[in-house]
């Protein structure tokens, strides 16, 4: 797990360790209403069948996690937001774009190759680079 590398990290304490049984971000793509473990195997055999394609995981979870963490970073750093980051996925890579009240661009990225990582920049300045889960965990726990 990487740590924030910035001069102004969003987290005022070390990134929290994950629970023993926590899973990496990637595996969490398969979640909500059940059925997709079976569908994963079936999909290849029934390519093009709309019913099998439907047995996909609920959409949007990875996108949403990145967006939540980015918003947490922006607000904890006091960024005045005009347009909150709008996120799009390309495969497992997620990128988001927004803007501040003083017209600075907000850019967010989480690469497919390192889905546990998050980078948030405002006006080209790196505001945060580090663990995505660490941001989410810290936001759900009391400030030290």
């Amino acid at each position: 797990m990487s740590r924030p590398v910035l001069s102004r990290p969003v987290l005022s304490r070390p990134v929290l360790s994950r629970p023993v049984l926590s899973r990496p971000v990637l595996s969490r793509l398969w979640r909500r209403p059940a059925g997709w473990a079976l569908a994963a195997g079936a999909a290849a055999l029934l390519a093009g069948c709309s019913q099998t394609a439907a047995l996909a995981p609920v959409g949007g979870d990875r996108l949403t996690e990145v967006r939540f963490a980015a918003n947490d970073v922006l607000l904890q750093n006091g960024v005045q937001i005009l347009t909150a980051p709008v996120c799009t996925a390309s495969g497992d890579a997620v990128s988001c774009a927004g803007s501040t009240m003083d017209s600075q661009p907000i850019a967010v990225s989480s690469a497919a190759s390192d889905q546990g990582d998050l980078t948030v920049t405002v006006g080209g300045r790196v505001l945060y680079q580090g663990s995505l889960q660490g941001v989410l965990d810290a936001a759900a726990r009391p400030s030290p």
């Binding site: 049984l21 079936a42 949007g60």
Partner: protein
């Protein structure tokens, strides 16, 4: 500001007294707060996340953490749709147009039902996480505690306006059980229920069986992953869950409902088959993945050879057909048909109503599963059914419904009615285009649907659920757009719902205020066995259910307590202060009748 004249006020009060059956002096006291439009009522100080939040606290054992109280969260203005800084004086001039409750994804569960497929988590906890939660026996208690929160906050924490209505955006019954459907409606109506099924003296289900080591067994959690995680030993929990009546206070306002995928398909995903129907009412319940895969889901898998092969593989891996225990059979557990969901909403108390809860006789006669309702003289709601009828958890908008909505939106635009859209699915989960072979209706996805809504500026909000998290997205066009508000669930942490208030800022803009509610239970569960303590226990268990990634579901501050600004789509002065005062008097009279009614 020019509200009702004294004569108009008294005449309306007399009418409302006659309609509600309340004594005029009783009603008069309730209406006094709204009698003078120049002196608005005080905001409610009832509990909400404006005053206190609930956060994950310190480790209690292993990785298991308690919950702790956190600071309240003020409203965060969001400008994405407005596209500019808002007027600084709007707080002083705003008036409330509608104060609305939003419930979603209650997932009321009969945890003793043989039609559940809990053991599938052994085949992959992450994949099958929604088949079993450690807090499954406590869903009625959570829903009742959530209803109490809405009742407590029956006047707005922002403006003091009375609660007008509530919307339920689906996934009310978790496993298509008629019993679950009945419980959910009764809890919202305030009808006491005892959340048990079968006829055994104790809890008959996997959480009471030592063989089900994969489950959280509160009597003895050791020997499985939940015990390893540090889940607590709570030997009285299951008996407390099923033995005591839950006396919900009921929603104080009319409530409306739409379908969710769990109200449409088994576990929100699979079509119902005769084998599962027989299991539901029978006397055998599975506690192994092999038995579940080879029996409970086999009927569904027979519809697709690849699925059958996958299930066969699981049966071989985990053992074929062994792993059933005898339980009490119960015909009340039958799996309902899709039309039954609508029909059940007509079996309801007359107050708070409405009978049908959005569905009408036309729905029953035609089979159409979507509806229109006017929540106030100038605010129209459309309840949609975005659920796929064939397979899969996500949804889409069928073409006949799409075209109906298009026509209705054109009418609303011409009539200058503000529009709220209610559906189960949200814009990130509207791409399921499954159809039956030989039947290929057109299904519209998120992009087409959002484009449709954007064409009509009177659409100001789209309230939905499905993903069990708080999320607010802006959908914009040149010069405006609308807000999409997704609320969390009652099953997964944070077990939160919302109230939404529409305000006219009287400066050419309007605001949607969203306020997140925790259910009305203590942060730390007590041992009393009361429904509020059991609800608190449920929340704590859910916060530790690692397979559901609980923490991210709170959303960011931009998704919780917010002021969502947007341009007014027409001159809102067409809604006169007198009209608004009359509307609020009607709403206050309903609340007064609710208070006078007392427990059922």
């Amino acid at each position: 500001m020019s509200g009702l004249s004294r004569r108009q006020f008294l005449a309306r009060a007399a009418l409302l007294a006659a309609a509600s059956g309340l004594e005029l002096d009783v009603l008069g006291r309730a209406l006094a707060a709204g009698a003078d439009p120049s002196a608005p009522p005080a905001p409610s100080d009832a509990p909400s996340t404006l005053g206190q939040t609930i956060l994950q606290g310190s480790v209690r054992k292993g990785s298991y953490r308690a919950l702790t109280a956190g600071p309240g969260e003020a409203y965060v203005p969001r400008l994405d749709v407005l596209g500019r800084a808002p007027g600084a004086g709007r707080a002083a001039t705003r008036r409330s147009l509608l104060y609305l409750g939003h419930l979603s994804d209650m997932h009321v569960i009969d945890a003793q039902s043989p039609a559940r497929i809990e053991p599938m988590i052994e085949a992959g906890h992450a994949a099958w996480g929604s088949a079993f939660h450690p807090q499954d026996p406590l869903t009625v208690h959570v829903t009742a505690a959530m209803v109490k929160s809405f009742a407590d906050l029956q006047t707005s924490p922002l403006t003091g306006a009375p609660l007008s209505a509530a919307i339920v955006t689906g996934d009310s019954a978790d496993m298509h059980s008629d019993l679950e459907l009945r419980w959910y409606i009764d809890v919202l109506d305030g009808v006491p229920i005892t959340p048990t099924s079968g006829s055994g003296p104790g809890f008959e289900g996997v959480q009471a069986w030592k063989e089900a080591t994969w489950a959280y067994r509160p009597g003895d959690p050791s020997g499985g992953s939940f015990g390893d995680y540090g889940f607590p030993r709570l030997p009285d929990l299951l008996q407390q869950a099923i033995s005591q009546p839950v006396a919900s206070v009921g929603l104080p306002v009319p409530w409306y409902a739409v379908y969710g995928n769990h109200d449409t398909l088994l576990l929100g995903t699979f079509g119902l088959d005769s084998q599962m129907r027989a299991l539901a009412t029978g006397g055998r319940k599975s506690y192994t993945v092999g038995a579940t895969a080879s029996t409970a889901l086999a009927g569904y898998a027979a519809t697709g050879s690849a699925l059958q092969r996958a299930l066969d593989a699981l049966s071989l891996q985990f053992g074929h057909r062994s792993g059933f225990k005898s339980v009490s059979a119960d015909p009340a557990r039958f799996l309902f048909e899709q039309r039954d969901f609508m029909a059940a909403h007509f079996d309801t108390t007359s107050a708070p109503g409405p009978i049908g809860h959005g569905f009408t006789q036309h729905n029953l006669d035609s089979g159409e599963t979507w509806w229109r309702a006017d929540l106030s003289p100038r605010i129209r709601a459309f309840g949609l059914d975005t659920c796929n009828q064939v397979a899969g958890p996500d949804g889409a908008v069928p073409d006949d419904q799409f075209r109906w909505l298009e026509s209705e939106l054109a009418t609303a635009q011409a009539e200058q009615r503000l529009v709220l859209i209610f559906s189960h699915h949200n814009s990130l989960t509207l791409e399921n285009r499954a159809t039956r072979p030989g039947n290929d209706p057109k299904l519209h996805g998120a992009e087409e649907f959002v484009d449709l809504l954007l064409r009509y500026p009177v659409v100001v909000g789209w309230l939905n659920g499905h993903t069990h998290l708080n999320q607010i997205l802006a959908h914009t066009r040149s010069g405006g757009g609308f807000w999409e508000v997704t609320t969390a669930s009652c099953i997964d942490f944070p077990q939160q719902q919302q109230v939404v208030e529409i305000a006219d800022n009287r400066d050419g803009t309007m605001s949607l205020f969203t306020t997140v509610l925790d259910h009305a239970s203590p942060v730390a569960p007590g041992a009393s066995g009361s429904y509020l303590d059991l609800a608190a226990q449920s929340r704590e268990l859910a916060a530790n259910d690692w397979a559901e990634t609980p923490l991210m579901r709170r959303g960011s501050p931009l998704d919780r307590n917010t002021e969502l600004l947007l341009p007014a789509p027409f001159d809102l002065s067409v809604i006169s202060d007198a009209d608004l005062q009359a509307q609020h008097m009607t709403e206050q009279a309903r609340l007064a009748a609710y208070a006078a009614r007392g427990p059922r």
